[in-house]
Structure formats: C-alpha cells, structure tokens
Amino acid sequence: MTKKHHVHLSDLHFPIKVICLSAALILSVVVFTESAPVDGGRLARVEGKDASAFMKITEAQGETIYMSILSSRKHRLGALDNPTVGLFISTDGGATWHHRGWTGYIRTFYTEAGMDGTIWSACGNGVLRSTNKGSSWRITTGWEITEVLKVKVDPTQPAIVFGATAYGIVRSTDKGKTWQVKNNGLGSPFTSDVLIDAAQSARVFAATEEGIYVSTNRGDQWRLAGLKGRGIRVLAQDRLNPKLLYAGTEEDGVVISVDGGGRWKSSVSGLHHKTVYAIVPDPTDSRTIYIGTHGGGVYKSIDGGTTWHQSSKGLTNLDVHSLGVLPSNPSIVFAGTLNGGLFRSTDGGSTWQFNSQEEAQVWGISIR
C-alpha cells in the first residue's frame, strides 16, 4: 500500500476487484464532465458541483501532476506569439493547469518532485530546481551538463538526484549543490532515462542507446543488465511488485523483467515492433500496464504484458511520449503526445478526450 488510507485493488479478490473497478469507472464518468478547452486551448476544466467535488478529492490526497511541454507545433523561432511552454502543474486531476517557471522555450523534457516537495526539471539548459512549488528556480548545473532528458529523485533520500543526459549520467548527492558525471562502465553515454529501484535505492538502472545498464552503488559503476546494443527509450517499475521492471525500446516493443532486472524478455505480442516512449503500470494493479508508442498511440495490457491491445480511441495524435495514471483513481490516465497536446481518459484508456495544450509536445508527465 502506498497510502495508509488506501486499499490496493491488487490486494482484493477478483470479484470484489471487478465490482470496485466498475464502480470507479462509473463514478469517474459521472464526475468528469468535460468542457471545451478554454484560454486558447491551454486550459481544460471540469465544470459544476462535480468538478469541485473531484478537486476536493484529489487535493485532499495531495496528488500533483507535473506536465513538461518541450515545445509546440505552433512555436516559431523568434515569433512574437509563441505559446507558453515548459512546466504546467495540476492539483485537481487535470481539471486545471497552472504554468510554473519560465514561459519560453528551454527544452523542458521532464519534471519530477521529490518526497520533500522539491521540484526538479530536466531541461536543455541543465537541471532546474525549485524549493517553493515552482515560484522561483535555479539552474543547479553549470556549462558542463546539458541536454538533460530525465531527472529522477531518490524515493527515500531526496537529496540524491540523477540526471539522464545526452552525454551520460549525472548525480548529485547534495540536492543539486554539486553534480558528478557517472559514466563508469557505460557502453554508450547517451541515456534516455534512469530508474531508481524503489525497493533498494542504491540500485539504479539506465536506459542507454546500447542497452540497459545497472549500478548497485548509486551510479559509481555500471554494468550491462540486458538488451546489448539496443536503443532503450524508457524504464518503469511496478509499484506493488518492485521486481517487475519494464523497458521501452526503439522499434522493438517492450521488454519485461520479473526478477528485478536479472533477465529480460521481449513482450511484443500485438505491438508490431513499435518504438515505445512511455510506460506506466497501473499503481493499483500489476497486471495492467499502459505504453505510449510512436505512431500507434496508447497500448494496454491487462495480463501483465503478455499481450497488448491498442487503446487509442479518441487520440488525434498517435505519437504518445508520456503517460500518467492517477493513483487515487487509476481509471484516470493521461497521455502526452508529440505535437497534439495532452489527452485524458476517464475509463482506463478505452476512450480519450483532449485535455490541454493544443499542438504541444508533452514530453513528460509525472505524478506525486
């Protein structure tokens, strides 16, 4: 259980789980009444009493969604009317979004908050940090560190932060005061993602251009963990069973490890060699996993990754680069597309509705 007042669905027996999921689905459909986007497509909102009721639920549970907009199809170099990009935050389940930080283009790839509330952004300009909920920011890195694609915070020690960059892996152990390059043992420095093992935070995985690498000493030394020579785009871990690991590949679907990264097995049934940019397991059900693909939109597995089925109805852009599932209500799923903005599903991915950021490149979504 991740929250003391929650009972995880996976803990329940199957008939009860079906009833609970159905009830949640019905509730979510009732509660969410989508309106047309407002404010030039930048904001979507839930209207009426239902909306405020839902907002109270999500706010009470303290769920914050961080959406990183890299750019927009509307963006033109030097144009006077470029859309606002960068970090958007929602504390009401995606009903409203609020911009934080710089409004211009600095290539905001991904944003994540640590358990102490510090917000970290992976950007072209380096690793940015805010300790006041996004009111002000500091670029914690210097000129040596650039093109940061992901930033991941240690789940138990928020002063330890990793950055996945085009030039390798960087780590700070003092909350961004100093950074060290940690490429020892990496075959290819280009790293799309890092994953800190939730069960054992000294163990870190890296998604590189030449396979998955693992370190058992917080990045001091790396060794190949699998998929030698293959481009890895993203890594994910099941919340309920930390031994379940997922990796998205370039043109070769998903690979899964059930033993904490010792062995990796391809899971391509139904994926047709898709490039996988995003993976998010349902935080309440280990058998349900969503992936975001290039050209195919969202695929979903309800059998632990054995088979995959396209789940993109309503998506008007099928290049899905980021995904998020609301832990308090796993029927609510977010899909960030490249040049199509943010979509939300209230029925576990069966149907999607446009949510926010018209024509935006939603590079990253994280929820805390």
């Binding site: 006077l80 072209g124 380096g126 920011w137 940019y277």
Partner: protein, 592 residues
C-alpha cells in the same frame, strides 16, 4: 551636422590605422550613419543610433519595447542586449537602463543547442554579470548570483577558445553563422574588463577573420561550409559574410545595402554595426591575406564535426578541408560524409562575377531522423519533422544543402572527384547539380563533358552516369537517378588555360575511368595538369600514386596560415611579416 560631428568625434577616438586599411574608417563611418537611419526594431540599428546620436527618441522607444516584449528571449537577445547597453550606456536614460537590467532577471534565456548559441549566451551572460556584479541569485533569471554566472560564462568561453584553437570549430566557415561568432567576440573584446579575456577575444577575432580571409574571394566565402542556407549557397554574395567582407576586407566595393545580391534586411543583417562600433582593428596581415590573390595557392584545414551524442564512436571526429584559391575562383571541398546535420555544403566552385548565383556544385539531398539523432537528443522518429519546421527544406528532395553519408571527395588543386554511393532504400536516391543561368556559356559536349564559363573562369564537369536537365528560376538542375554516381570537375581560367576553347579542347581528350563492380566503386582520372587522381568510395584516395593521409593534415596549412593540430598556436605570415596567435599563452606577437 550634429550627427556628422558626433561620428567624426567617435572615429577620432579609436586607435591608429594603417594606410592599407584607411578605407576601413570610411566604411565603418558609413555603416553607422546608414544603420542609424534605419527604422527597424533591432539592437544593431539601435546601437548605431545611440552611437551617432541620431533618432534617439525612436531608439529609446524601440529599446523600451524590446525590454517589454517577453516573447523575445534566449541567446539571440542575451548578447545583443548587453552589447547595445554597453555601447549606449552614456546616453541611455536611467529608466531604460533599469529595464534592460531587469531583462536578465525575468526573461527566458535559452542556452540553445549549437555552438553559436552557446557563444551568444555565454558572452551575454559574462558581460551582464560583469556589468552588474555582487547581485544575489534572486536578481538573475537562472537563480545564480552575479559571481556564479560570471565564473560559469568565463569557464565555457575559455573552453571554447581552447577547442576552437586546437581542433577547430564545429560550425566552421559558415557564411551565415560567422555573424553569431564575430559579433559576440567584438562586444566581448570591447567591454571585457579582464585583460586576459580581452586578449582571448582578440585572439578569437583574429582567428575567425583569418579563417575567412584565407578562403575569401571578392566578398565570397569560398570552399566547403559546415552550415549555410540554400539561398546563400546558390547566391554566395547574399550571405551575411559578405557584409563583414565589405567592412573589413573592402570587398566587394559596393556597400551591401546598395547591392541587389545582398539582402541587408535578412538575418542579422546590420550586426556589422558592432564591428563599426568596436575598437578592434583587423591586423594588416589578415587584410592582405584576404585580398592578395596574385598567386594561386592551396590551403588546407582541419575542423571538427559538431558534438556527436550517439551512433558514433567519436564525439568530434575531424573534418578535412581543401581549397584552391585563385584570383578568379575558389574550388573547395570537405572530405565528405556527415560532418554537420542539416546545412552542410560539401563542395563548390565559386567564381568572381558581377552577376548573381556565381557558383557550381553537386550534392545528394539526404535526410534522416537517425542522422539528426546523432546530434540532437530528441527522438529520432520525430526529428525530421521537427527540423523541417525550422529549416523548411530538410526533407525536400530539391534542397541545396545537405550532408550525406553517401558522398565523398578527392581534390588536388583545380581538379576534384566527387563520388556517390547511395544505399538502396534511402529516402532520396538522386544527386543534383546546380548550374546558374547567369553563366556566359553552358555547353553540353558530345564528349561527355559539361562546360561552363563565367567571365574568365572555366569549369568542366564530367558526369559518370546518365542524367537529365531541368530548368528552374535561376538555374539548370542536373539530376541523376543513378545511385552509384559521381562527377569529375576541372576548373580553369584565362590565366591558366588561355581561352575557353583551349580549356575545352584539352578536357575533351580526357575521360575518367570508372570501375563499378560489386562493392567496388572507383574512378581514376588524369588531370589536364598531369596529376592522376584515384578515389575509391569508402576506400583509398590516391594522388600521383601517393595515398592521401588525412592524419597528416595540419590545423591550418597554406602559404599564409600555419598551425599544428592541437597546438593552440596559429602562425600568420605575409610578405616577411609574421603574426602568432598563441591561445595557450594568451598572447599575440607580431614580427617584425
């Protein structure tokens, strides 16, 4: 009258100039006057107004709007804002000064992802932090203090000076992007308080200018280029480098704003104002290197590939560059392959002409998401589309700039072989050739040679495979759909060959020998000068029986510029004089 007096007073304030460049002072005065009469909203023209005192209310209004408009930010803003501020500090109202200072707190200052971006960003940050010292992190856009920003900028600038003087620039010899290096360095030279930094800026200016000068011809930037825009590739005097050539080399003689081939209102058009405003003076020796074309010469260079972040074994592999410079033309080439994404220009012959489109070249219009992903961290399946949004022609089969893994060259003096071996399945599998309509003569000869003449320059091109012609607005396009392909090129002139007829007659008797068998694609050719060139695709390059060893290429090697790779010391020689640019020691010496 007031304006003239101000300009004269300003001119009188700068250092002495040599007789060879006396006309520079006239040009710099002219550009300040002309630019200050422009009514656009650009930091360069505003700076001209602040320096001359002309049209100050308009300048202040434009500056105010530039500080107010939050949509403008990033590196292009960072260095021009501070350059304008420092040049105009004496006349700027305090309210405007405060607004300009505030810009460094509230704006999005994107650092960018190219060499020129970083030069602009860190030069701006260095001078801003120097101008407003001892301010805490809340006063800066990036949450760092003045001291932190100053140190970071200093650190990167010194890093850039080091790599640029040892393994070369990644965005080398660009007729367009030269502005984005020259202007920041001119501003840095003018205002850096640290004598060491000022000297480094001077060293870098000397290096940038001599790099241009050695391949300069009558305003044209000859040879291969890392990056250039198609419209400038097919019309060399349209490039921004022409403006710099006019100001510092005195060529072409016509001011760019009066020259129809130049478009003074395009990208960064008026930035040479910052040169006119600077006390930096081009050393005589560089001026002579740029303008003395009494004898033909071979000039070679080693540059570097832009940072490769994946799909490559080396971060910055070397680029080998060869140019043959005469008073009539420059035949120049890069050795081939992917050396820069998007805007590479591998080879051409550019000749002196009073007509536009004074160039001939061929290319393979390659595009690939994987190529872009070598240099950009975004997803490879997404990059082609994204780059097309900014560089509209990237995936266009008719584009005139390209880097291709299927293109290789071999050049010796005025002869060149370019071979193509295009992999099956490549998006565009044809090769194109650019032949301008402004040629005086274009003859498709039964011998297989295509002959072209413009004034005193003669060009012979022998296509190795069948091709077709297509007439376009300003050119004939030669197109061949043979994937294994190539051209032999010879360039001559009235000085070398007497008449065009002699040139043609000599070449008609010559025929390249091609060997196209299995994986082997090779051509061998004896030039009219008697040299035997042999190029095997992905194989040896042989000249007169000797294999070309690129490892022997120096950083600079020519009659005027010499440097060993990695040394950080560049020696300029001309007419018994020597100027040594010593980046390692941070000093310049000139003898006698």
């Amino acid at each position: 009258m007031k304006t003239v007096l101000l300009v004269v007073a300003f001119v009188a304030g700068v250092m002495d100039v040599s007789s060879a460049q006396r006309s520079f002072e006239e040009r710099r005065e002219k550009i300040l006057v002309v630019a200050s009469s422009e009514r656009d909203r650009g930091f360069a023209t505003i700076t001209a107004k602040l320096l001359t005192g002309q049209d100050l209310p308009f300048a202040f209004a434009m500056l105010d709007s530039l500080t107010y408009d939050q949509s403008i930010g990033g590196m292009f803003y960072a260095y021009t804002l501070i350059g304008c501020y420092l040049h105009g500090e004496h006349v700027l109202p305090d309210t405007l000064k405060r607004k300009m200072r505030e810009a460094y707190r509230v704006r999005t200052m994107y650092r960018g992802d190219t060499e020129n971006h970083w030069v602009m960003y860190y030069t701006g940050l260095y001078l801003a932090a120097q101008t407003w010292p001892n301010e805490d992190e809340a006063r800066w856009f990036n949450g760092k203090s003045s001291e932190e920003n100053f140190e970071e900028a200093r650190g990167w600038l010194n890093h850039w000076f080091d790599i640029s003087s040892t393994i070369g620039q990644g965005e080398f010899d660009s007729p367009t992007y030269i502005t984005t290096f020259l202007t920041p360095m001119l501003v840095l030279y003018e205002f850096a308080k640290d004598p060491a930094m000022k000297t480094k800026a001077q060293l870098m200016l000397d290096l940038l200018f001599v790099d241009f000068a050695a391949e300069h011809l009558a305003g044209n930037y000859g040879g291969g280029h890392s990056r250039d825009y198609p419209e400038d590739i097919i019309n060399p005097l349209a490039a921004p480098s022409t403006f710099w050539a006019w100001l510092y080399f005195g060529q072409p003689e016509t001011p760019p704003w009066n020259e129809t081939r130049y478009r003074p209102r395009h990208r960064s058009a008026w930035e040479p104002v910052f040169g006119a405003a600077s006390s930096y003076r081009l050393p005589d020796i560089i001026y002579h290197i740029a303008t003395n074309r009494s004898k033909p010469y071979v000039h070679t260079e080693t540059k570097r590939v832009r940072n490769i972040i994946r799909f490559g074994k080396e971060k910055n592999p070397p680029v080998y560059k060869y140019s043959y410079v005469t008073k009539n033309y420059i035949l120049g080439s890069l050795h081939g392959g992917i050396l820069q994404p998007i805007q590479q220009h591998t080879w051409d012959v550019t000749y002196v002409s009073d007509k536009p489109n004074n160039t001939i070249f061929t290319l393979h219009p390659f595009s690939s998401g994987k190529e872009l992903a070598m240099f950009f961290p975004e997803e490879q399946k997404f990059l082609s589309d994204e780059v097309d949004r900014y560089h509209n022609v990237y995936t266009n089969p008719n584009k005139w700039n390209s880097s291709s893994p299927y293109e290789q060259t071999l050049q010796h003096k005025n002869a060149l072989i370019v071979l193509y071996d295009i992999e099956e399945g490549t998006t565009h599998s044809h090769v194109d050739g650019f032949f301008p309509k402004t040629l005086d003569e274009r003859i498709v000869d039964a011998s297989g040679w295509i002959f072209a003449r413009s004034g005193n320059t003669f060009v012979g091109i022998f296509p190795l495979k069948k091709y077709e012609w297509k007439e376009e607005d300003v050119n004939w396009r030669l197109r061949s759909f043979e994937r294994r392909n190539g051209f032999v090129v010879e360039v001559g002139s009235s000085d070398e060959d007497g008449s065009f007829e002699n040139f043609r007659t000599t070449l008609m008797k010559r025929r390249p020998r091609a060997r196209d068998k299995g994986k082997h694609w090779e051509v061998k050719y004896r030039t009219r000068g008697g040299h035997v060139l042999q190029l095997t695709f992905n194989g040896k390059r042989i000249i007169d029986g000797q294999q070309v060893d690129f490892k022997q290429y120096k950083f600079f090697n020519g009659p005027y510029v010499q440097s060993e790779r990695g040394s950080g010391v560049i020696t300029l020689t001309y007419g018994g004089k020597r100027r040594i640019l010593d980046f390692k020691r941070g000093r310049i010496t000139e003898t006698p």
